[in-house]
């Protein structure tokens, strides 16, 4: 289990000083922030069932940042409200084959498509997009993922990031010099991993 390994590494490198509860919270933060970064590592994909006349849909629970969005296997473009208005003043009600998606001004973790689907998609059920035929007329989202375990080769860098935050936190073992050193190591080792992308 990568998270357990990382937390053990944090404990080892801090000589047992790190607070495991805080380290666990920092770990979760770091993994989430990895999903927001421009370097894509943890990724997932899932179907979102399309419903006739429904324009708003929720991203999968574990999605952090959408990378690709398809409707019925056709790539959709991200856009903004201004462009949607220019396209059609009644864009929230216009039915058709969705071609554009927007998140601007939408509730958190929701995307809006336009035109709004004119038909409901085939049942998705437990089907995943991997190694299976795609159910007709549904959305497929590919995204950076927030999950419990990072890849084995990322454990050290995540541990150093956690440790940097732990040393920066006000506590009986606060050590800003160590925190800076961790940040420097993260930069070095992160650069090494970045070259493999």
């Amino acid at each position: 289990m990568a998270k357990a390994d990382v937390l053990q590494l944090v404990s080892d490198l801090s000589a047992g000083l790190a607070d495991q509860t805080a380290a666990s919270a920092f770990y979760n933060d770091v993994v989430y922030e990895m999903g927001l970064g421009r370097s894509v590592s943890l990724t997932g994909a899932a179907f979102v069932q399309a419903t006739k006349s429904a324009g708003q849909y929720s991203f999968p629970v574990t999605a952090v940042r959408p990378l690709l969005l398809f409707y019925d296997e056709t790539s959709m473009h991200p856009s903004d409200t201004k462009e949607a208005e220019a396209y059609d003043k009644e864009w929230r009600a216009t039915l058709g084959e969705p071609r554009v998606w927007l998140v601007e001004h939408e509730t958190n973790r929701v995307f809006t498509v336009l035109p709004v689907p004119r038909r409901s998609g085939a049942a998705v059920g437990a089907t995943t997009p991997f190694g299976a035929a795609l159910p007709e007329a549904n959305f497929l989202v590919v995204y950076t993922e927030n999950r419990a375990d990072v890849h084995a080769f990322e454990e050290l860098i995540v541990a150093l990031q956690v440790l940097g935050r732990e040393f920066d936190r006000e506590s009986d073992h606060t050590d800003h010099t160590a925190a800076q050193y961790c940040t420097m190591l993260v930069g070095l080792l992160g650069a090494m991993l970045a070259t493999k992308k």
Binding site: L68, S75, F130, G131, F153, I157, A178, A191, M192
Partner: protein, 175 residues
Amino acid sequence: MLNRLIDQCQRVLNCNQRLVLKTVDFTTTARCVLYQSSLIAPDIARVEMVRHNVRNLFDVPWESLVHQDRLWLKARGQRADYFSRIGNDILVIAPALAMPITVQVVYTAVTPAPTGVPADVLIPDENVPMLRDMIEAVALLRSRKFAEAENPVTRIKSMLTSMGYESIEGTSGQG
């Protein structure tokens, strides 16, 4: 503790230098282009190449897929032409085919954890000094001997600079 550091540093160095490569046969699914890397092989760090028979498929960045063909997800073809990695978890092999084919996937493998035997360190001898510097730099964090860490850190920076990094200091961890 030392084994753990060797293990972790070896993984990073191996990913960077692509030292431990493996090849695995993988049978695609008809009319499907998306595959989970972990199902192709559990120890995949990065897919380097996909071959079909003697033909190497083109390596296309995932951001470019849509520029090549907006309908790439549903495009059908007579043979697989290209592959793409979306992060480290998703592999695209496209266009989709009507029948499954077997391709060879060449990948950088995650190195196994050393057990204390020298043979467990799979990194070639010429890369061992770099590995040693990495281990030393991380280990000195534990003892907080930051001044002594200057030498290994400087050597790591030199290596990265020689690889084309203009500013190591400004490089963020995951990005």
